[in-house]
């Protein structure tokens, strides 16, 4: 017999299942709105020009393949911290932070989760917004922490349940860990306005909570990297020493290269050194040191004035296309004669949109129109193009009229 006879088959991934079913569908009009990756207006993956240029430069330099330090490529981690915090940030200039390279957003989140499990003795509880990215829960759980939630999304209005969030936060036990999406909330696309962020900052400060920001869409949400980092920077300015996970999967299109960073804002540079030393002790038995290829690309882009300028234009164009598709979807729905209020589609931001569609309606969209999305009514706007937005609007109207 086998050692593994008792090993259960793992449950199928709900999002992958959507893509599998989409692949099998022979309808020429089919649409995959489950995909969590940017697509251009032809529905194709998009490799940024600044990335291609950076790659060519790197290839011409014929660099060696020696191990990176455990904490990663220094030019990358420094530039990544500066991008998030802002070049004028007191925390950045004073050096009271540590940033280590992580394996994209997931790996960065996990480093932080492991660090909290080992060194944050005040609480085992991580409060996630309801709903949150599906992988947040297993990441923190596998790190040995417990999951709680606070109200966030209001399905009645398809927008932020601000009073519910504030109410729940006011009751979170002191010194608990709270996770916030810096911008382009996944899966809802619902972000607090700046005035609301100010109140949220005051509330978490009052409860003395440890704040962990997940920023996977800086630049990709509004098209403006400073605007998308506003909440992160505001919290730090309010004296909240945050933890931060960054991803460059979407904003630089470096998905498979696994580029990310994990940052801890500390009291001072000395504390940052101590924290860094412990992060290295955590990373070494996970994968020793991080992969260089993507970090080199990101570093070159962030640190070269020309490439950085080009990147900012390209990330804005990706954000603008998404925003444009939102607008077109709403106007097409109106043209179809829909009487529903679809304002949330343009109010929401980022790659994803919580349409408000119910499971039965989602099922009809799939069965009758070959339009694939997750059962919660979430669509990836990246999968919408000027070529298919009309079809999508028509289909949505059919199942909701």
């Amino acid at each position: 017999s086998s050692w593994w006879s008792h090993v259960e088959m793992g449950p199928p991934d709900p999002i992958l299942g959507v893509t599998e079913a989409f692949k099998r569908d022979t309808n020429s009009k089919k649409m995959n709105l489950g995909v969590g990756a940017y697509r251009d207006d032809n529905g194709k993956p998009y490799v940024l020009n600044c990335v291609r240029k950076a790659e060519a430069q790197i290839a011409s330099k014929k660099m060696d393949k020696e191990y990176l330090p455990i904490a990663g490529l220094a030019d990358f981690t420094r530039a990544s911290a500066e991008l998030a915090l802002g070049e004028n940030s007191e925390a950045f200039k004073s050096g009271r932070y540590v940033t280590v390279q992580g394996i994209s957003g997931t790996g960065s989140l996990r480093i932080g989760a492991n660090f909290l499990q080992r060194f944050f003795k005040s609480s085992r509880d991580v409060y996630l917004p309801k709903p949150s990215w599906g992988n947040h829960t297993p990441i923190f759980r596998d790190a040995g922490l417990q999951l709680q939630s606070y109200r966030y999304y209001d399905p009645k209005t398809c927008s932020l349940d601000f009073s519910g969030a504030m109410d729940d936060i006011s009751k979170i036990p002191e010194k608990s860990i709270i996770l916030l999406h810096a911008c382009a909330h996944n899966p809802t696309g619902v972000d607090p306005r700046q005035e609301q962020w100010k109140e949220l900052a005051a509330a978490v400060k009052k409860r003395n909570l440890l704040v962990y920001f997940d920023m996977a869409y800086q630049g990709f949400a509004s098209g403006d990297i400073n605007r998308d980092a506003w909440a992160v920077r505001h919290f730090i300015e309010q004296g909240i020493n945050i933890l931060l996970a960054q991803s460059y999967a979407k904003n630089m299109g470096l998905y498979g290269e696994r580029v990310g960073a994990f940052t801890v804002i500390c009291s001072d540079a000395e504390e940052a050194k101590r924290v860094e030393s412990q992060l290295k002790i955590l990373i070494r038995p996970m994968y020793s040191n991080p992969p260089i290829n993507g970090a080199r690309i990101a570093s070159l882009i962030l640190n070269s004035p020309d490439l950085r300028k080009e990147w900012l234009v390209e990330v804005k164009s990706m954000a603008d296309r998404i925003i444009g598709m939102r607008t077109q979807l709403v106007s097409n729905l109106k043209k179809e004669g829909s009487s529903h209020n679809w304002q949330h589609i343009t109010d929401q931001i980022g790659m994803f949109c919580f349409t408000g569609l119910k499971p039965e309606q989602v099922e009809r969209l799939t069965k009758e129109f070959s339009i694939y999305m997750t059962k919660d009514g979430r669509i990836s706007v990246a999968g919408v193009t000027s070529g298919n937005v009309g079809y999508l609007a028509h289909a949505i109207h059919q199942v909701t009229k």
Binding site: S2, W3, W4, S5, H6, V7, E8, M9, G10, A37, P45, V47, V51, A59, K62, D64, K65, E66, Y67, P69, I70, I103, S104, G105, T106, G107, R110, F119, S122, N135, P138, R141, D142, A143, N208, A249, L254, Y255, G256, E257, R258, C266, S267, E271, K273, R274, V275, S277, Q278, L282, R284, P285, M286, Y287, S288, N289, P290, P291, N293, G294
Partner: protein
């Protein structure tokens, strides 16, 4: 402002092998030699990007059809299948019987960690925190950390290095296996044991396998030097393949850091050999869950390079040639160092230098002698007496040999 929550975080000690390199870098002495960290160096003391790797990288860079989309959670399919094929052999019965799976991982370390996490959850029942894990004494120092951080509470050592005879303590090893609780997990170095460079002979491996089979012990192979050790891929994989032929289910954590020189791309593969396809499928489905919360999906660059190389007969031949170049240089440095020590009449026996295999050699130098080497001679090696043969060059052989001679005769 309230005291920081991190006020009590202590400063962790630096990882020894990296500290050694940092100290080496800061040393201004012209004679300095770095025999510490385990990376290949040319006879000019330089890192070496394999010519086949440069070629394939250029190919990849010129291929406009390639993008940066996510790989599947378990990695690039062509990489996984071919990496496992390299370990188990083209004619592997396990592969023919479709009972082999691969998990692309971040280097050998990543493969070890994913395997360890899986074993802790699923190996013998659903909670293996108390299952004993045996690591050779000595071993790569990160093995211990990997299994501790994966949640194992009972980590033990098994006899391996006999300092007196400077060779394998087979008797002690087999004795430990006889006494180990059934179902214990054993970490075995597939070849080129790190740090001793001392491997069991085929006959000794047969004895080890016999005991493990009888006592239901689980083989977890760490294969970081396939091809790099002897120059032959097949020869260096003999032990793993023997265990498969004996019907074992096993894990093999493969690294392509050294044999492909792809250190910083983090290319590894966890090969899983099971009783049948169904078991392997279920195991892989659970591996996915573990990968998803660790790094979601692995980096593509290194896997692309390896897959492209392994699937092209011409590139594969070039690669094997590049690997042999590295292995041959190491073998040359071994014989040159030994002959110099013997010519100098350095006290002790030095045949172990050529009998050991792979990148490392356990010289037998004690900590005081090591300190002398570092402080007085500016030759950097690990406190254990481990040297990286790749740090030797035709230019520094004389200096290193003389320094070892001095250390051994001056310091006891």
């Amino acid at each position: 402002m309230a005291a920081s929550i991190f006020a009590a975080v202590p400063r962790a000690p630096p990882v020894a092998v990296f500290k050694l390199t940092a100290d080496f870098r800061e040393d201004g002495d012209a004679r300095k030699v770095n025999l510490g960290v385990g990376a290949y160096r040319t006879d000019e003391g330089q890192p070496w990007v394999l010519p086949v790797v440069r070629k394939v990288e250029q190919q990849i860079a010129n291929d406009a059809s390639l993008n940066h989309e996510y790989l599947p959670i378990l990695g690039l399919p062509e990489f996984r299948a071919n990496a496992s094929r390299i370990a188990l052999g083209d004619d592997s019965p396990a592969i023919k019987e479709n009972r082999v799976g691969g998990v692309q991982s971040l280097g050998g370390t990543g493969a070890l960690r994913i395997g360890a996490e899986f074993l802790r959850r699923w190996y013998n029942g659903n909670n293996n925190t108390a299952t004993p894990v045996y690591i050779s004494s000595p071993s790569w120092e990160n093995h211990n950390s990997v299994f501790v951080d994966a949640g194992f509470k009972d980590i033990r050592t098994y006899h391996y290095w006999n300092a007196a005879k400077r060779g394998l303590d087979l008797h002690g090893l087999l004795d430990d296996m006889e006494k180990a609780p059934e179902f214990s997990i054993f970490i075995l170095h597939a070849c080129a044991h790190n740090p001793t460079g001392t491997d069991p002979t085929p006959d000794e491996w047969k004895q080890i396998a016999a005991v493990m089979k009888r006592r239901f012990l689980f083989p977890f192979f760490d294969s970081a030097y396939q091809g790099f050790a002897s120059g032959s891929l097949d020869k260096d994989a003999w032990a793993v393949r023997y265990f498969v032929s004996e019907g074992f289910e096993l894990f093999c954590a493969q690294s392509f850091s050294k044999n492909f020189g792809l250190y910083n791309e983090r290319v590894g593969n966890l090969t899983v050999v099971g009783k049948d396809a169904d078991n392997v499928q279920r195991v892989l489905s659970q591996m996915e869950k573990i990968v998803r919360t660790t790094w979601s999906n692995p980096p593509s660059q290194g896997a692309r390079i390896v897959a492209t190389t392994l699937t092209s007969p011409q590139l594969f031949a070039e690669w094997k040639d590049n690997v042999k170049t590295m292995a041959d240089r190491v073998l040359l440095m071994r014989s040159e160092l030994r002959s110099r020590l013997e010519s100098l009449g350095t006290p002790g026996t030095w045949n172990h230098i050529t009998e050991q295999i792979g990148m490392f050699s356990f010289t037998g130098l004690n900590p005081k002698q090591v300190e002398y080497m570092i402080k007085e001679k500016h030759i950097y090696l690990m406190a254990s007496g481990r040297i990286n043969m790749c740090g030797l060059t035709t230019k520094n052989l004389d200096y290193v040999a003389k320094s070892i001679h001095e250390a051994v005769t001056k310091i006891q």
